[in-house]
Amino acid sequence: MTDSLEPQFLVVGLPASGKTTFLAALQNYIDSDLPDKSIRMTRYCANSEYLNRIHNKWLQFEMQSRTIQEQASRIDVSMHIEVNKTGDNFTLNIPDVAGETFSQQWSERYWELEYHEIVCASHGLMVFVHPSKVESHAPIAQVISALGSLTNIEDAGIEDQSADNSQEIIAETEVWSAEKSPTQTVLVDLVQAHIDHISGHPIPVSILVSAWDLVRVGSPNITPSEWLRYNLPLLWQFLSSNFESLTFEVYGVSAQGGNFEDRVDLERLEKIDIPANRVLVASAVGDNNDIASPIISIYERWKAKQS
C-alpha cells in the first residue's frame, strides 16, 4: 500500500452492511473461469485463508455469520487487482471487514494510526449500506401525527411521560448515546471524515446498497439512487451538495442473489449453473451480474480525473 502511482480504493461500512458477502462474491468472480472478466488478481493476498473460507460458504449457500476469529481480531484484506483491458493496477483495501472501526469513529472519535495511514493513501471510497439496518431518526411529533391526535394518547393506552411527574419519568427514558444515532448521520460523518483526509478532490465515491433483492421485493422499480434519496436523504444531500469534493454513484448489490434461508429463493439460486450469475448489480444504467462493475467504475472515475 505504498505506490502512489497505483491507486488504492477503500471499502468501508458499518457492521453487518454486506462487505463480507460482497468480498465472497468478488473472490468467486476472480477465481472463476468466466469469459471476458474485467479484472484479475495480480497476486494472492495475505489473507487468502479468510477469503477462501467465505468464498466456500458463499458457494455452498451458507450465510456469512461472524466467526470467533472475526470477533476476536480485526480482519484486513488487501486485493491487488489488474484491469484486463488496460493492464492498469490498483489495490482494493478492506480494513476491518467486521466494521467496528467505522462505528467506533462516530462513537469514540478516533482512528487507529495504521488505519489513518491507509485513509491518507487512498484515492476513492466504497461505502456499504444494508437496507434493513437503517436506524431512522423518527421524530416524536411525526410519529404521533401519523398515529392520530395527541389528545387521543390516553385513549390509545400510551402513557404520557411528560405529565406532572416528569422528573421521575425522564430518569426512566433512554439517555442519548452515540450508538443510537440515525444511520444517515453516522454515514455522513463517516464520508466527511474520510474525504477530509484523502487528497486529490473530487474523490470518487460509490455507495453500495447491499441485499438489493430485498429492496426489489417491496419496490420493484426503484433505482439505487432513488432508494438513497428516499431512505437516507441526509447522506444523499451531503453527497449531492459537495460535488467539488467528491463524485458519487449508487449501486444496488445482491451479492448472494437472494435469501439462502428462504426455500423458494434457495431453489431458484441452486438452479443457476454458473455461481457468478447469482449476483445482481443494479445501477443507473440497468442490471447486470458483474460484481466487478462498481470497482471498475470507481477506478475509471479516478482515471478520468487524472487525464
Binding site: 469513529q105 472519535r109 478516533y110 482512528w111 487507529e112 494510526l113 488505519y115 489513518h116 431518526h137 423518527a138 421524530p139 416524536i140 411529533a141 410519529v143 404521533i144 401525527s145 391526535s149 395527541l150 389528545t151 394518547i153 400510551i158 402513557e159 404520557d160 411521560q161 411528560s162 416528569s166 425522564i170 426512566e172 427514558t173 433512554e174 439517555v175 442519548w176 452515540a178 443510537k180 444515532s181 440515525p182 444517515q184 448521520t185 455522513v188 460523518d189 466527511q192 471524515a193 477530509d196 434519496r229 436523504p233 441526509l234 444531500q237 451531503f238 449531492s240 451538495s241 459537495n242 460535488f243
Partner: protein, 339 residues
Amino acid sequence: MTEDSSAEQDVCHQEGCRFNQDGQCLEGLTIAECPHLRYTLEVSDQEFRNDSPIDLLPVVDTYSLFSAEEFVPESIQEVTFGNKPKLVVIIGEPNSGKTTLLSTLYEQFHNGPYCSYLFSGSRTSRGFERRCHKLRIASGLVRPTMDRTISSDFHFLHLSVRRDTLDRPAEHLLFADIAGERFSLARDSDVDAKRLTILNYTDQCFFIVDGEELAIKNRRFAAKQRLQNLIGRFVQNSMLAHCGEVHLVISKWDKVLEISSEEELETFFIEPMRQRFTGILSKIILLSAQPQTNALQQVSGLDTFFETCLSSKSRQIVEVSITLSERASQFQRFKFRKQ
C-alpha cells in the same frame, strides 16, 4: 506511578467559583453537570523523578478526529478558517424555545432538502444529535421535550447548506446556543448586557419569547415586560447597533392559537412591540417548531427563520484597533475575516 502518592481531583476553572476551596458550585450544579470541571492527576516530585520520560508519555497509537461536538469560542476557527459563516444569535429567557428551534431546523434535513436548500455538512453533528434526542422516539418519550442549556459558556452549532440549484457555494451558519440565564442577567444589569460582546459580530439576531406565556392572561404582562426590558437594555447600551438585522420570534405559536388568538396577540403584544422598537425590529416570526395541539399540527414559521438566517444583509463593521502586543480574541479574528 503508585496510586498511594498521587491524588486525583476535580478542579473548577470558572472565574469566581469557590468550588476548589469549599466544594460549593457558583451555579449550584452537580459535578456531573458542571462544564468547568477538569479532572487532574497530581503527581509527586519523587514519582516524576522515578518514572522515565517514556513512561510518562501517553501511548499514542490513535489518530483523533474532529470532535463533532458543539464549538466553544476557542474552537470555532474550525469553521471560520477558510469560510465566512453567518453568525446567528438567539436571545431569550430559559425555556423560551431557543434550543428546540435549532434542533428542529437540523431535524428538517433528515427528511430531505428544506426550503430549496440541501444539507451540506456539519462540524457539530454530535452536538445537534444530543439536542435532538428528546425530540425523537428513541428517547422513550411520547411528547417532544428539550433539555435546558445550563452552561453559562457560549456554545456554537455549525450547519452548512447549499441551494439545490448548486449554482452557488455552500453557506455556513454558526448558531450561538447560550443559556437563557445569561440573558436574564443582561436584562437587569448594564454590566452583564455589555458582556455579551458577541452581538457586535452577529449577522442575524433573534429575540425569542415564549408564546404560551403571552397567551396566558395572568402571565402575559410580565412576559411582555421582561422582553421589553431586555431589548431596551441592549438598545440603551448600543449592543444592537452593529448587528446585521434584529428580529422577534414568538415561539409555541400553536399554544397561542389554542389558548388565545392571533388578533388578541396582535393587539396586546405584536403591534406595541413594533411601535416601541421601530427601526430596530425587522421581522416578527410566528413559530411553532414542535406543535403539540390540534390548533396547528405542522411546523410553521421555521422556513421564515431559516431563510432569514441566510439573508445577506451584512452587519455594520466596527473599527477596532489592536496593538501588536494585544492577543486577538477568536471573535475579533472572526470579524476581520468577515471584512
